[in-house]
C-alpha cells in the first residue's frame, strides 16, 4: 500500500495542480472583438453541437459552447454595447471539478478542465457550481435532419441525453498537434500549431491561443499586456482565458 501513500504525497505537493506539461491559454482582446459571432458558428461546426430548434431555445436549452454575451452601458444617445465572448475558462481552480460525484470532470496534464462524457451521470452539479455558466447539458438526445449528419466531425463524439458538455479548447486539435510533434521527433508542440476552431475563424484576430508555459508564445505576451484581466477574477478561479480590456478613453 506504499503506492497510495506515495500518490497522496504527490497529489498534496504544493503546485501539483498548478504545474502542467502545457498550460493552454486563450487570450481574447475585447478591443478587437466585434461580436460578429463567427466563432460561435465555428465552434458549432467543429464540435458537433446539435441544432436544437426554436422550442429548445425558448426553454433556454441552447447548445453553444461559446456564446457572446452583450452588455449595454449608458442611456440613449450615449450608449455603448460591449461584447464578451464567453466559453469555458478552463480554470486552474475550477469550482466545477470538485463536486462531481463520479469524477467525470477533472484537470488534465495540460491544465485543461476536461469532461468525460462516458463517465458523466448527469447530476448537473458542475454546471450549478460554474460561475461562468459555460456548461451545457444534453436535456435530450439530439438528432440531425438528414443529411446534415454527414457534416459531423469524426474526431469529436456525439453526446447522448443526460450528459454534460462544454468547451474543450478543441482538445482533438491539441491531440493532433501533439501526435504530429511526436511523429516529427519534437518534444513539444510549437506555438501556433494548435488553433481551436473559434480562434481560427476570428476575423478581427481578437483571439490568440497557445501555451503559457512557453514564455515566447503569442499568448504569453498577451497575458503580460497591461489590459489583461480575468472575468470575475475576484472569485479566484484562476481561469486560463485571459481577456484584454476594451480601450475606453480616446483623445
Amino acid at each position: 500500500m506504499a503506492k497510495i501513500t506515495d500518490k497522496i504525497k504527490e497529489y498534496t505537493r504544493p503546485g501539483y495542480y498548478e504545474k502542467f506539461d502545457y498550460h493552454w491559454t486563450m487570450s481574447i482582446d475585447l478591443d478587437r472583438c466585434t461580436g460578429c459571432g463567427a466563432c460561435v458558428v465555428a465552434c458549432q461546426a467543429e464540435n458537433n453541437l446539435p441544432i436544437v430548434g426554436e422550442k429548445r431555445f425558448k426553454e433556454r436549452r441552447e447548445m453553444k459552447w461559446l456564446r457572446i454575451e452583450r452588455y449595454w452601458e449608458g442611456e440613449y444617445p450615449n450608449l455603448k454595447l460591449k461584447f464578451l465572448p464567453m466559453l469555458c475558462q478552463q480554470c486552474d481552480q475550477a469550482p466545477c471539478e470538485t463536486p462531481c460525484p463520479v469524477a467525470a470532470t477533472y484537470h488534465n496534464q495540460d491544465g485543461l478542465n476536461t469532461q468525460i462524457y462516458n463517465r458523466c451521470i448527469g447530476t448537473r452539479t458542475c454546471a450549478v457550481y460554474c460561475p461562468y455558466e459555460v456548461r451545457y447539458f444534453n436535456w435530450f438526445t439530439y438528432t440531425w435532419d438528414e443529411p446534415l449528419e454527414q457534416q459531423l466531425n469524426p474526431d469529436v463524439t456525439v453526446r447522448e441525453k443526460g450528459v454534460m458538455e462544454k468547451c474543450t479548447f478543441c482538445v482533438q486539435r491539441i491531440r493532433m498537434a501533439k501526435d504530429k510533434a511526436k511523429d516529427d521527433n519534437r518534444r513539444r508542440v510549437k506555438d501556433g500549431e494548435v488553433t481551436p476552431a473559434c480562434v481560427q475563424s476570428c476575423a478581427s484576430e481578437a483571439m490568440q491561443f497557445g501555451d503559457l508555459n512557453d514564455p515566447n508564445s503569442k499568448v504569453s505576451k498577451m497575458t503580460k499586456n497591461k489590459r489583461a484581466y480575468h472575468v470575475l477574477e475576484e472569485l479566484n478561479t484562476k481561469p486560463s482565458v485571459v481577456y484584454l480590456q476594451k480601450v475606453e478613453k480616446h483623445d
Binding site: R60, M86, P101, V102, R119, I121, R124, P131, Y132, G162
Partner: protein
C-alpha cells in the same frame, strides 16, 4: 382539556387496541391504499418513465437553473425524515415518557421520507442507468467516486442514515412483532416468528434490547445532524450567491427538524383519528410538540433574518441582485407565503388552547410543511437563475412532469406508510405499557 374523562387502558386493552390496527383491515384502508398506490403509479412512475425515455428535458430545468424541483423535493423529504429518528433518540436518552406513544410512527416517517428522498436522487440524474457509479464498487477501470464531492458525502450520509434508522426502528419493534406473533395464526404467525427473532421476553433479552437501543439512540443523533448538514453542503460548497452561506448547515438542520416535527404532528392527528388510538396519543404529546415547534420556528426565523441581512450587508451585486429577485421578483409571493407560514403562523401556538387543539395543530403543522416545501423550492429556484453573469440570468418554472412527480412523491410516502401500519404496530405496545400505572387486579 379532554383528559378529564380519560380512562387509562389496561395492559390487555393496549394489546387489543393496538393489534387491531394490524389484524383488522376495513374497506376504508383498502380504498385509501388503492388510491395512494395508483396516484403514486400515475403521478410518479408514469412521468418518470416518460422522462427516462426522452431525457431530463421533460422537466423545466434549463441552462441557468440546472437544478429544480427534484432537488428541492429531495431536501424536503430528507428534512421531513428528521425529528423522526432524531427526536425519538433524543427523547429516549432524556427519558421523556411522552415519546413512547409517538416514536414508532415518527421513526417510520423517517424511514419512508428517506426512501422518497432517495427516489428523487434517481429522478434527478441524467443517466439513471449509471447511477451506481456513485458507489465505490471495485471495477477493472480502477475508477472510484470522487470523495471530494459534496454529492458523494450525500450518498454516504443518506445511505448510512437509512441503514441506521432501519435498524433503530426494527430493533425497537422486535417485542411488538412477538406480540403480533402471539396474537395471530397461520402464515402471519410464521412470518412474525421470523420478524421477532424468536423473542421470548426473558430478562436477558430485555436487558440486551435496552442496552442496544440506547447505543443506537446515541449513535443516531450525530448522524441525523450530520445528514442534513451534508445535504446543505450540496449547496453551500458552491460559490453561487444565495447558496454559498456558512449558515446553511444549521439552517438546514433546524429547518429539517422543524418540518419533521410538524410532520409528526400531522401524522399523529391522522393515526389518532383513523386508527382509534385516542387513548394513546394524547394532548400532552401535542402540547410538548407544540412547544418544540415554537422554539424551532424562532430559530428558523432568526436564520432567515440573518440570511437577508448578510446578503444586504455584503454590498456585492451578486448577493444584492439575488436577494432582490428572491424578495421582490417573480417568486416573491412564494417567499412571503413561506415567511407567513413558517415564521408568523407558528406564533399562534403560544396560546395553549391552540397548542392543545388537535384541529388547529393539524392545520398549523400542515401550513408549516407547506412553507418548508416552498422554502426548499425557493432556495433552488431563486438562486440559480441569478448567478454571476447577468447575460446568463434565466428563469425557472417547473414543468408538468416535475409537478406530477412532486405530487406523486407524497403518494409514494403515503403508500409506504400504509403498508407499514399493517406490518408493524404503529404505537409501541411494550413501551406504552411502561407508562401505565401498575396492574389493577380488579380490571
Amino acid at each position: 382539556m379532554t383528559d378529564t374523562n380519560y380512562q387509562e387502558p389496561g395492559y390487555a386493552d393496549v394489546n387489543r387496541d393496538i393489534l387491531q390496527t394490524l389484524l383488522v383491515t376495513g374497506p376504508k384502508y383498502w380504498i385509501t391504499f388503492g388510491i395512494s398506490a395508483s396516484v403514486a403509479l400515475i403521478c410518479f412512475f408514469g412521468p418518470w418513465a416518460y422522462q427516462l425515455y426522452v431525457g431530463v428535458g421533460a422537466a423545466g430545468m434549463n441552462r441557468s437553473a440546472m437544478w429544480g424541483t427534484y432537488l428541492s423535493n429531495f431536501i424536503f423529504w430528507i428534512g421531513l425524515s428528521h425529528s423522526g429518528t432524531l427526536l425519538s433518540a433524543v427523547l429516549h436518552i432524556t427519558h421523556s415518557g411522552w415519546r413512547k406513544a409517538i416514536y414508532r410512527s415518527a421513526e417510520a416517517m423517517t424511514l419512508f421520507s428517506l426512501m422518497t428522498a432517495a427516489c428523487f436522487v434517481m429522478v434527478h440524474v441524467g443517466r439513471l442507468w449509471f447511477v451506481h457509479w456513485t458507489a465505490p464498487i471495485p471495477n477493472p477501470m480502477e475508477l472510484w467516486p470522487n470523495f471530494r464531492s459534496p454529492l458523494m458525502f450525500d450518498v454516504m450520509a443518506v445511505t448510512t442514515y437509512l441503514t441506521a434508522s432501519s435498524i433503530f426502528i426494527y430493533m425497537g419493534s422486535v417485542p411488538d412483532y412477538a406480540a403480533v406473533r402471539d396474537a395471530s395464526t397461520g402464515l402471519r404467525r410464521r412470518l412474525y416468528t421470523i420478524f421477532s427473532f424468536g423473542w421470548r421476553g426473558t430478562a436477558k433479552e430485555w436487558h440486551t434490547l435496552s442496552w442496544a437501543y440506547m447505543f443506537f439512540a446515541v449513535f443516531v443523533i450525530p448522524l441525523a445532524v450530520s445528514v442534513h448538514s451534508i445535504v446543505s453542503w450540496d449547496f453551500a460548497l458552491s460559490i453561487v450567491p444565495g447558496l454559498h452561506q456558512t449558515i446553511f448547515a444549521p439552517y438546514f438542520v433546524c429547518g429539517a427538524i422543524y418540518s419533521g416535527t410538524a410532520g409528526i404532528v400531522s401524522v399523529m392527528f391522522l393515526l389518532r383519528k383513523y386508527m382509534q388510538l385516542e387513548r394513546y396519543i394524547r394532548e400532552i404529546h401535542l402540547d410538548n410538540l407544540g412547544k418544540l415547534l415554537i422554539v424551532l420556528s424562532l430559530i428558523w426565523t432568526y436564520i432567515n433574518i440573518v440570511e437577508v441581512f448578510t446578503g444586504w450587508y455584503s454590498g456585492t451585486s451578486f448577493e444584492y441582485e439575488f436577494l432582490k429577485f428572491r424578495l421582490f421578483g417573480f417568486y416573491a409571493p412564494l417567499y412571503w407565503e413561506m415567511i407567513l407560514f413558517c415564521a408568523v403562523v407558528p406564533l399562534f401556538m403560544l396560546h395553549k388552547k391552540i397548542r392543545t387543539s388537535w384541529k388547529w395543530m393539524f392545520i398549523i403543522s400542515i401550513l408549516i410543511n407547506i412553507g418548508m416545501f416552498t422554502e426548499r423550492f425557493i432556495i433552488v429556484a431563486t438562486s440559480l437563475p441569478r448567478k454571476f453573469l447577468p447575460d446568463a440570468f434565466g428563469f425557472y418554472f417547473p414543468s408538468f412532469v416535475e409537478i406530477m412527480i412532486s405530487i406523486g412523491s407524497f403518494a409514494i410516502f403515503t403508500t409506504l406508510f400504509l403498508i407499514f401500519i399493517k406490518w408493524t404496530p404503529c404505537v409501541s405496545i411494550y413501551e406504552v405499557k411502561e407508562t401505565l400505572k401498575p396492574l389493577r387486579r380488579d380490571a
